[in-house]
Symmetry: C2
Subunit: 399 residues, 2 copies
């Protein structure tokens, strides 16, 4: 059993990961600065299911599961906080979810673009420096994104690619073409971590994760107070989750552009298992490795059709609407990313099924009265034209 520190432990993925690893018997601590709860206030969005404070959830977990999760409040941009927490808890592994996670948020304006990159890059640099300074034998498990690669016209490998050129060859970092300032921040992190592993003999696993869907885990189901932060809005929500909410709310499913954009997806439960697999099979000293963390690919239109079909079976009259794409991205493209490393370690995927969509939609229906329809349609435009978000008078609430 290991000591695991989870950065961003208040989030959609951080909190279920904390409970899951705690229940597996690991000694778990979480750190958060609750920044995302403030971003929610800026945009007047909130999770579908009411969420307790992190303090109260940790206490509920103790009551329900009879296990203790240690709670640290702190901001990763403050080096003293990072070094202090690492020195106090001395983890075997750090799971780093503690970043601004939204592409649309990073595209709202210059303040949020700069904030996203500075916040994400600084936090990760501080973790690297503190690990080195404290001489911790600590494996960094960093959440990256499949979006770091973009959509090249060749198959995507797991982090590195062998290139033959002018009669010579080398295995080099896979070229990245990220599509937002958020995705760019993850590319910056990846470059920084790779260098630190080489220069300082740190060890890190960079999980290039696909889009996560799902609302429940075995642990969230143990008690209403243990629910996770499930978003369906245009800024923090993601495709399948948002489509299920639209179906349940009786409004059209909205696809950006043609919907031919193909992406990797995975179930929330698989995220937890992938992180566990990375922790219990750590990278070696000096090793920086990348796992492509998704279980299947779909086009956005395929997903919309799957959700609509299932919703109709449940008696919901669900339509699909195509919207002008607010993003700058290809709507038809090659997409064939490798994803064998986690399977080799033992991942058994929960594939997207009609049963799962049934369950998701049924769960959402219980909270249908909380759905704010006005926060679902996209307001942030990648090209900055016709930004409806400007009507919100979103200046800058500070960092």
């Amino acid at each position: 059993m290991m000591k695991v520190l989870i950065l961003g432990g208040d989030g959609y993925l951080g909190w279920p990961t904390a409970m899951y690893l705690s229940r597996c018997g690991h000694e778990v601590a979480v750190l958060d600065n609750f920044a995302k709860r403030r971003w929610e206030l800026e945009l007047n969005v909130e999770p579908l299911i009411p969420i307790q404070t992190l303090h109260d959830r940790v206490e509920a977990w103790r009551a329900v599961a009879d296990r203790r999760i240690e709670l640290f409040v702190g901001d990763l941009r403050n080096y003293g906080v990072v070094e202090g927490v690492l020195d106090t808890f001395r983890p075997d592994a750090v799971v780093h979810y503690g970043e601004q996670p939204s592409a649309p948020y990073s595209m709202i304006d210059h303040n949020r673009s700069v904030f996203t990159q500075v916040n994400n890059v600084t936090g990760t640099l501080n973790v690297l420096w503190a690990t080195k300074k404290l001489k911790l034998d600590c494996h960094l498990v960093k959440l990256g994104t499949m979006g770091e690669y973009g959509t090249p016209n060749i198959d995507i490998e797991e982090g590195f690619i062998e290139i033959n050129h002018n009669g010579r060859k080398d295995t080099l970092p896979f070229p990245c073409q990220p599509g937002s300032f958020y995705h760019l921040s993850k590319v910056h992190d990846s470059h920084n971590i790779r260098f630190a592993c080489k220069a300082w003999k740190l060890s890190a696993t960079d999980l290039h994760q696909g889009v996560v869907y799902g609302i429940e885990t075995d642990e969230t189901k143990m008690d209403d107070r243990l629910a996770t932060s499930f978003h369906y809005d245009d800024v923090f929500g993601t495709a399948i989750n948002r489509f299920c909410v639209q179906a349940a709310a009786g409004i059209p499913i909205t696809v950006y552009g043609k919907g031919g954009q193909r992406r990797g997806f995975l179930n929330l439960r698989d995220t937890l298992r992938c992180v566990e697999l990375a922790i219990v099979n750590p990278a070696k000293r000096g090793e920086y490795r990348v796992f492509n963390q998704f279980t299947e690919t779909f086009t956005i239109l395929q997903l919309a059709e799957l959700v609509a079909e299932q919703a109709r079976k449940l008696g919901l009259a669900t339509e699909i609407h195509h919207l002008p794409n607010p993003r700058i991205e290809q709507e038809e493209h090659h997409y064939n990313p490798t994803h064998t490393k986690l399977l080799d370690l033992g991942l058994q995927p929960h594939f997207l099924s009609n049963e799962l969509l049934d369950t998701m939609i049924a769960t959402i229906l219980k909270y249908k009265h909380r759905v704010k329809q006005e926060i679902i349609l996209p307001k942030v435009q990648w090209n900055g034209k016709d930004q409806e978000i400007e009507e919100l008078k979103l200046m800058w609430a500070g960092a």
Copy 2:
């Protein structure tokens, strides 16, 4: 003739570029926040030749050349400053030297590492956002570095490489393996700029520059008050310049490790010409292009031997000492980077010659009494061990 704004106009390259372009007939403005002058105070280093303030140099240029360079004082991290200057001057081209330029400085400690990345990335993001917001038809000429590529075992192309993989092909960004937090900051910039050009139809030229050497240009020679900031210390000095100072001062030339590290180099005069070529042959709207900006490659040991040989001819008893390499880098490696794009635009290189080394050493001898020998040997260790720099009690002087 064009309106050109030079960011970092107080620096080793910024100031000679300003004078050169002004003398070519362009309307030139410079911006600086004098941050580097404070970093010099932190480390107790100073340029070999006494440097006037930027205000006084601009005034001297007016007196000597009868041309006006407009001076803005400001910090690129402040978005209001950036938008204000761009809106006031409305340049056709921005030449962006305004970043923390030293790899050793970025490796001193976590503060300087985070500062380097935040400073460099934020400044460039602000320039991109302000250009977009003001709808300026303005070409960004950004100084990057050949160090973005690292030393892969294949030939280096200019920014992009065609990759054939599993029967498909694409032209993708050349994979980067930078070797310090400074070099990483330039890679982050390159990714951000490429995205902004695509998303917002901006135009940019990313000059992946080699190591610059030289002390004089036609313009600096016009008056003592017009000298540029020539560094020979371990933090802001670079190989050829430092070797010439060691030779002139009668102390051994110090080579890091075996000296087999091969790098691209160019004369200061060629930097100015390359920037001019980029400006007068601008990138198209939406285009992000990379020029590898160097004229020849040498190993560090070759350079040491060239300088030592020339110094001996001048009657200086010059030895070469090998020091343990403070950096994490290969000391024997393949290195064959392409560099045809600037030649195609008309660059006529000033190659490194015995005459040039003669002139450099002779110029340095005039200032030999100002050489501080204690600031030449490396103090910053990439692996953080035996950091002599710590003896300086360098905490953090703030940003």
